[in-house]
Assembly symmetry: C2
Homo-oligomer: 270 residues x 2
Amino acid sequence: MHRFDLSPQDQGALLALCDDLADAARGQTLTFFRTRDLPADTKLAAGFDPVTQADRAAESAMRALLAARRPDDAIIGEEHGSKSGTSGLTWVLDPIDGTRAFISGTTTWGVLIALCDADGPFLGVIDQPYTRERFIGGPGVAELRGPRGTVPLQTRDTTALDQAILFSTFPEIGTDAERAAFQRVAQSCKLTRYGMDCYAYALLAAGHIDLVIEAGLNSYDICAPIAVIDAAGGIVTNWQGEPAHDGGQVLAAANPDLHAAALALLQTRP
Amino acid sequence: MHRFDLSPQDQGALLALCDDLADAARGQTLTFFRTRDLPADTKLAAGFDPVTQADRAAESAMRALLAARRPDDAIIGEEHGSKSGTSGLTWVLDPIDGTRAFISGTTTWGVLIALCDADGPFLGVIDQPYTRERFIGGPGVAELRGPRGTVPLQTRDTTALDQAILFSTFPEIGTDAERAAFQRVAQSCKLTRYGMDCYAYALLAAGHIDLVIEAGLNSYDICAPIAVIDAAGGIVTNWQGEPAHDGGQVLAAANPDLHAAALALLQTRP
């Protein structure tokens, strides 16, 4: 099955399911957010990559819903791995994007839910449980449901880099070459800020910032942002200008002109 | 007048006034937060220091309240300058700490309100209007009033740097020497994150992170955080271990032992 095979009724049902998935994850994550002495172990022997009970419980809750309502779809999840399917559709789940943010108490982490066909993500949710903000993008929908009600998502029309606000999660970015490429763009922008995790993509979709550039992402980090930003009028690719849903280097821009300007700097050989 | 001259009734009245000041600022700031094409000019000919209508309107609203209810107190405000007083008490106001955050749509900016005597701040509020979180510290009170009701503020007991979470707003920090000093601490910590503005101090008071280190602050950036963190059991000084309420270099720590460990690294000569 492909996104174009879905009837309006199918689309509505999938959107409603996205809401239910995000609600299920919200319940689990909020139980653990900002509790003292949160149990956290490490996935990697070296480095610091906390996994919380919240992460696992939220993904389990979403998988249980999918098992009941979409048993033929495939699933890729950060915590519990991959499950094959027969429908041609794949759910890509990151129960807590931004585990470092989560353990620090910041509200920049989120639950990421995406639905993909063979061409990539076409329906996505970035949910921030504590602030009760849900950024949704898909066929015919681009909206933020939050404390101010439902607000349409629409990216900005900034086309000059020197007017653009750029975000990335870590100033270290990636390799030396990746960091140098990032810095070429950063030095051309009006403002560069760090530390927002998936919330930066949500801010781009909502028209508050213009660029997000990151490296070393996983598929589950970026599928939902791609769908939300696409629906809001923006564009997300890798640093070669190709589809980014497999992860790696990511360039998200508010519009194609700004994307082209940033891409040119990322690709400049110093 | 000194903090020790205040009766419990006086303290209660001042706490209630803090609430009213924060409410007044909330109304003004939320009117302008996340609106498109927010008017912003620059205070400095060089550099990027946006001032929004929200900033000025919020400070004006707070000053109007103080003029009516505390006419004998002095005021230091970021936007509208200083007013002398005769009571011995000074209100220090930053209507929007984190203007870059504000224009980027992140919820890490805040309204800062502090009341000082000759020895420095002893009552403070860090208010985040969009998330409706109000962190309050003063005589007999250390609490967060927010979406989960009223929660006590209490800093953590982390004493080992390699278990500590460190925050700062910008990775650039300040001068080369300041950045090098910061990096000595950062490299000893479990995790370093950026981009939180005054919200980092609130997270420290609430026991989610352990250290905040910054340079180049103004008095109005740090007076309210000092009062809130002091009340929650933490400690804030400059990088010489002296009072920090005049601004400059700031080291905020969850407890005295961790403060001493970080201070030693800041003062190490490379």
